[in-house]
């Protein structure tokens, strides 16, 4: 479908449309929202990882001067215990409600239990101490393998394991088990010259967006609820709040403010329904802001996991069989990304004989949320280091091995359907050809590692409308919150169609009453799917403008053509008018032109990357220093290459953080002990070199410009690439994430 290669706007690097607001501090993020008569809410959280809530007495808090309302789970409307389709995904409404305010049990430290609205934040905070909660503390279970044991404390006494529709007899913390199977693994191992099997564990990690969650809600006496907030999806907030509070979606308007990072973590709602409930009780607008500790303890991180991978290969480097066992911590309610992990674990490769088992397991930790390619990083850490071991054993260059085993279009995936086209070999070749891969490594205790990362990407629904302005520009209204420059990449796709500069587009992210339904900014879908909708809307504008030109020249629309931003008549009259010229003459040809486009594309086109890293390991302290980093990735077509590079660089660095130091550290009571940016150690700029991002472009046939989503893939490879590099530097294979200094020292036998 990709129509032509010599684009005028696509592939250039204009200044982003929201740039000036963001470098001058004028851009308004969720917490910046102000309105008259504002009350401030604070949330009381469970101090226990697992406890029955015997009673909550709010009377002392209600009597505190300045307090206007207190809410608990008792204030929720009754809902059925059922899976509701929220348009952007399905969820058990009871679980959603229970996670927002705990009912019978608190299931993790930080679980929201009650909330207060008061005249200022400090008064609200004081009142929290006056809420008396009586808990019966229960034993917590924190680690996935512990939670899977027969005698483990049960989080949900009525939960039974679902095996693709079949329920277990006994209750269990294992919410679900599923399996993918192709061919005959035993036969494959029999053909193998080398078989490697290893076990891996990873700890819970957080997205670590710099902006805490926020919400301001105003409930009017006419039943209309408005919520101003930072979110990855205004419509996702609308859907969840509507279900949780049992209000029709038409009565909920969500106004997306600027958002300070999300990475998957700002889809689920936590304080938004609470702000709404407090506003319902007080009749005033109520603002609720999370603290950083609230964010770590009370919002969804990505799971800790146990992964076992077994792989067989011949001496000439062909994979003959592969198996994976993936057990993921869902957090307090079912729904870990183990499905995506199982899908991705062998996706880059042709595996004719394989089995993948996935387990979704509840533990006394916050309900996990999405985090950039959710699940895939945990899986790739295992599979990509097993492959490294095989390459070492058979003496093959790890890039050659990947080229040899690359899945190609039409190969049967582990879950059954055929694989779509993706530029795996091209990204590996790009890494091979990069000067980094052939540069000599100097010094002691240094090593180089490589790994791949694969992500299927998502399409989903988007809407865009375009208004043509008399000065020849367009205003573009979209529903995708802009977390990393997507106003620009979406505007550029419309500009390309209409032959106008990117600067002639004014993009606006609209509220849920002002734009058609649009799914979350996530799944690497925004530049792809909302860009697709913008393309469609621009096509609609183009067609209408052709008709206007025809009217102007008194010819049939079929006689007008449009190329390079100029309308011209085909039949010898030699009439020409550019987009701007025609825009000035809309009044006389029929009035305003409004274009619309929607998209629900079925071929998002997977993305894949190959990362190369050099590390130095201090053998005395176990500390890993990243010396050099190169990441190649198939972007299909980079609309705005700077922001594609930015996604690759940022994703790689999140992967580096996950590899090196990031983890939730728990004590024996199930309490997170490092809920701050001091002790939850995301990388600082001093921990990193420049990140060389290499864009490979193998167009996605499912998008008019060939776009593939790029956001998620770059986080997948770093932990495995670094582990492989550490092995070269030290001779020791790390099988736990993060590879923090203490773990490295231990693996090296120094402590």
């Amino acid at each position: 479908m990709a129509e032509k290669k010599d684009y005028k706007v696509v592939g250039t690097r204009p200044i982003r449309h929201d740039g000036v607001d963001k470098v001058t501090g004028r851009a308004l993020y969720g917490a910046d929202f102000q309105t008259v008569g504002l009350l401030h809410g604070k949330v009381l959280r469970s101090p226990h990882a697992h406890a029955r809530i015997k009673s909550i007495d709010t009377s002392r808090a209600e009597a505190h001067p300045g307090v206007r309302a207190v809410v608990t789970a008792k204030d929720f409307p009754a809902v059925e215990d059922k899976i509701a389709d929220l348009g952007e995904g399905a969820a058990n409404v009871k679980d959603l409600q229970d996670n927002v305010l705990a009912g019978d049990k608190a299931l993790y430290k930080g679980h929201q239990v009650a909330a207060v609205a008061a005249i200022d934040p400090h008064t609200a905070e004081e009142a929290l101490e006056l809420i008396d909660v009586e808990y019966e503390v229960l034993p917590p279970v924190i680690k996935v393998l512990d939670a899977m044991k027969e005698d483990a404390p049960l989080l949900h006494e009525d939960m039974h394991t679902d095996e693709m529709g079949e329920k277990s007899e006994k209750p269990s913390n294992i919410a679900a088990h599923f399996q993918h199977k192709q061919g005959d693994p035993e036969k494959g191992y029999a053909e193998a010259d080398v078989v490697v099997e290893q076990e891996y564990t990873t700890e819970t990690v957080h997205q670590g967006y710099i902006e805490p969650h926020n919400a301001t809600a105003l409930y009017n006496p006419d039943g209309q609820l408005t919520i101003w907030c930072s979110t990855q999806g205004a419509f996702a907030v609308r859907g969840q709040v509507s279900e949780i509070l049992q209000i029709p979606v038409s009565k909920v308007k969500v106004v997306p403010m600027e958002i300070g990072g999300g990475f998957g973590g700002k889809i689920n709602v936590y304080i938004k329904p609470i702000a709404a409930m407090l506003s319902m009780k007080t009749g005033k607008p109520v603002k609720v802001l999370m603290s950083r500790a609230d964010v770590f303890e009370g919002t969804g991180p990505t799971p800790g996991s146990y992964v076992r991978v077994k792989m067989g290969a011949t001496n000439d480097g062909r994979i003959t069989a592969a198996e994976a066992y993936l057990a993921f911590e869902a957090g307090a309610y079912p729904g870990s990304p183990v499905g995506a992990a199982a899908f991705c674990v062998f996706s880059p490769y042709k595996v004719e004989n394989g089995t993948v088992d996935g387990y979704d397991v509840v533990v006394n930790k916050p309900k996990t949320a999405a985090y950039r390619a959710p699940g895939a990083t945990n899986a790739a850490f295992a599979a990509e280091t097993v492959i490294d071991e095989i390459c070492e054993k058979i003496g093959m260059d790890p890039l050659e091995f990947r080229i040899l085993n690359s899945a190609t279009e039409g190969d049967i995936r582990i879950d059954g359907p055929p694989a779509p086209r993706v530029g795996f070999i091209e990204t590996v070749e790009a890494a091979k050809d990069h000067p980094h891969y052939s540069a000599p490594l100097e010094g002691e205790n240094v090593g180089r590692g490589v790994a791949s990362g694969y992500w299927p990407n998502f399409g989903m629904k988007s809407s865009v409308s375009i208004n043509v302005t008399a000065d020849g520009t367009i205003s573009l209204v979209e529903g995708s919150t802009d977390i990393g420059g997507t106003r620009a990449s979406i505007a550029m796709q419309a500009a390309e169609v209409l032959g106008i500069p990117a600067e002639s587009v004014t993009p606006t992210v609209a509220d849920t009453d002002s734009v058609g339904y649009t799914d979350v900014t996530g799944g690497s879908r925004t530049a792809f799917a909302t860009g697709y909708a913008a393309y469609e809307a621009a096509q609609d504008v183009k067609q209408q403008m052709i008709e206007r030109a025809a009217k102007l020249w008194e010819v049939d629309a079929g006689e007008v053509q449009f190329a390079d931003g100029v309308f011209s008549s085909v039949n010898g009259k030699e009439q020409e008018i550019d987009f701007k010229g025609l825009a000035e003459r809309l009044d006389e040809t029929g009035g305003p032109v409004v274009g619309r486009g929607t998209a629900d594309p079925s071929q998002p086109g997977p993305s894949i990357g190959l990362h190369v890293v050099d590390v130095e390991v201090d053998p005395d302290t176990g500390k890993i220093q990243i010396l050099r980093y190169t990441a190649t990735q198939d972007a299909g077509k980079a609309i705005h290459p700077s922001y594609v590079e930015g996604q690759i660089q940022g994703g790689a660095v999140q992967g580096i953080g996950w590899a090196l130091n990031e983890e939730y550290i728990y004590n024996e009571k199930g309490e997170m002990t490092n809920a701050s940016f001091l002790d939850y150690r995301i990388p600082t700029c001093l921990d990193l070199p420049m990140i060389d991002a290499v864009i490979v472009e193998v167009p996605n046939p499912g998008h008019p410009f060939g776009v593939r989503g790029v956001g998620e893939t770059p986080i997948i490879a770093p932990p495995a690439a670094i582990a492989n590099a550490v092995y070269r530097a030290t001779g020791v294979r790390l099988k736990e994430l993060p590879m923090s200094p203490g773990r490295v020292l231990k693996a090296m036998g120094k402590i």
Binding site: E125, N661, I665, L678, R681, L686, S740, P741, G742
Partner: protein
Amino acid sequence: MRAFEYVPAKTVAEATSLLAEKGDQAKPLAGGTDLIVMVRENRRQLDRMVDIKDLPETNVLSYSPDTGLELGAAVPCHEIYADGAISAAYPGLIDAAKIIGGTAIQGRASVGGNLCNASPAADTIPPLIVLGAICVIAGPDGSTREVPAEQFCTAPGQTVLENGELLVSFKIPPPPKNSSSFYLRFIPRNEMDIAVVGAGASVVLDDAKTSIVSARISLAAVAPTPLFAEEVSDSLAGKEISDESINAAAEAAQAIASPISDMRGTAEQRTHLVGVLTRRALNGAIQRVKEA
């Protein structure tokens, strides 16, 4: 956080009396980088903060090769390392001042505050100890007393300061001939962390720079208070500089460390690091003398 009052003191006497009036419900405020966070997070409850950073006595920063350094307790880190002469004379102190928090923290945080916060992991305390710093304390009755840095902290978060007393300044003796100092810590990142273990060392070498005349070693985050490894230090006196003597000191330092396991590191990791960092601190200080 409960409400408190904020009072800027104009004189040391006013500060001590404002503090004395409220007992343990008042604290002096200098850079505030620890205190404000502790109060905000309800780890400490106060009725009053007494701002002491506009007093001449807490802002003094004067160095002479003859009398040494007088360092006001409220002088922020960045002013210390901006001074070339002080940096040359007390490199171990500068090592620490440059790694407390980030640049923005160093714009406010003071060495005096770091000491009064009495964290076992405080970065500036080992250098104060190995440089032989004396703490000058003003009392509410107008008196002053002096306490060596190694005796100032008594337990995590606890110090020798009595009700109404204020740490005003430090007196650090001039560096002896053929001497230098060094501080380093181990952290998982390259900045913005609390020491898993910290080690400071000062050495005085003979004129040939082949043997140690005297040494002082201090360790952070391996005991309830920053530790002055006095016997280990004394054992180095008169020793020839060699891997053997340095390693022996490192092993002796490991023997006196009594670290705990917490989210920043396990006891065994810390004990291991005491050896590594003691070696590096001593070698670092020796190297500085040799290069001088």
